[in-house]
Amino acid sequence: MENRPLEYDYTVAKWFMLSTIVLGIVGMLVGVILAWEMAFPAVNTIAGSGLAEYTNFSRLRPLHTDAVIFGFTLSGIFSTWYYIGQRVLKVSMAESKFLMFLGKLHFALYLLVVVAVVGSLLLGITTSKEYAEFEWPIDIAVVVVWVTWGMGIFGLIGIRREKSLYISIWYYIATFLGIAMLYLFNNMEIPTYFASGGIGAWYHSVSMYSGTNDALVQWWYGHNAVAFGFTVPIVAMIYYFLPKESGQAVYSYKLSLLAFWGLMFVYLWAGGHHLLFSTVPDWMQTMGSVFSVVLILPSWGSAINMLLTMKGEWQQVAASPLIKFMVLASTFYMFSTLEGPIQAIKSVNALAHFTDWIVGHVHDGTLGWVGFMIMAALFHMAPRIFKREIYSKSLMGTQFWIQTLGVVLYFTSMWIAGITQGMMWRAHDEFGNLAYSFIDTVAVLHPYFTIRAVGGTLYLVGMFLFAYNMYKTMTSSRRVEESELQNASPMGA
């Protein structure tokens, strides 16, 4: 038996890295198509009227949201877990055949679910619950994937050498537990075929909740999917990758612990802000508003901690595009976690609800914070996984500026569109008659919808540059020695 020194095994991290890139391109491409459809309705039938069923807005919309949430983001979360988990616990997956098997099984099952999701959504098979569109057979498969991941997490923790769990591990555990709880409760559903004794399609189901209760559970889930999918695991990433890439330990470890518990306690109560001025009890709406505003504190606790980690090292932001991505990500995190609470204030919400401002808010968070952080994480991991330098620094810089411009165009156009919409919907004459019809707003919003589509297209172009840079890094970049991989990632010109 050969006696090789122990090394971290990045096989599963590498596989999920590939699925992050592929599903990111798919999800964002569909998003861009949707944006052009909104601006120019003729795009709905761009592939001919025969295929209009598959290309229209309503059929593609869940494919976009689910591909970027459960495809791009979740793959990024898994990939970084299989990388960070080993490193901060100081244990290699190669040390346990069982954990290695679980990791590979996790990826294989995940791919099967992706195929089932894409297929069923394209065919129009959906529960019609936002971000929870999958029918019951897929839900069961999702639970199996999740449990497999969980066994991997706790298995690795069980054989660790480092006694203390680094703060990122806390966040990954919270992601696992949070999503498990949310997903199970929101997807409680009754398969109609079996409950009715053979009526309808076998895969169809109805929610176990009804009316207002259904809405409450749905938005408790929906908002916390943002919490435990778009916030908690992304914070886990930045707490590892920013210190590692910059060579600076996190500014205040105590603040990271405090912000963690703050976030855990406050986030779960904020979902009611999605149901302001609805049939939900008034005290619950107020609670949703209040907790949303309080949420600024733990969110900014993490974000400020990250920016202070760069204290005295700001020259790195100018020098390294990778640090640029992460600093801009944490800035966008601060920005969207201030914007969200403002929108959750009842009087602001009266204007903002159902308008494009909400869409703008989601996208400055997801494109600016989630997207930038996941791409930065992949850029940092690639030289360590493939033992090659990042192919092109200048291409990274170009990608950064193109995508930043894309995000700015996206959220500014949606701000203007959203507030214009809100003002026009509520405008009335002295007798209380509405001043505008719906189509009046559509005509006014058209330029902003076009600007949004341009912004989204720019972000997608950046995504292609990212994929090309990663591909070249994997295949033909200069090989590097272990000694070059300590902190700042090696990059070619």
């Binding site: 290699s92 203390s164 590692k244 330990a249 470890y253």
Partner: protein, 68 residues
């Protein structure tokens, strides 16, 4: 006292309790460090010294293994 009033009191005191727990946690973090019981900031180095050959910041000791 009707149920709504009871809920309101319960909600208020629960929130006050949670705030006390949070401030208690802050006090605990700083006082433990001051007394020298635990240096939280050293855990930040776990991310920086994370090669498989690096010495763990706090190793799982033999005594921990036995306790298990």
């Amino acid at each position: 006292m009707d149920i709504a009033t009871f809920q309101a009191y319960g909600y208020f005191f629960f929130t006050a309790f949670m705030v006390a727990v949070l401030y208690g946690y802050i006090y605990h973090l700083y006082s433990a460090e001051k007394k020298g019981t635990r240096d939280y900031e050293k855990y930040g180095n776990i991310a920086l010294h994370d090669d498989i050959t690096d010495q763990p910041i706090e190793e799982i000791s033999k005594t921990d293994e036995i306790k298990k």
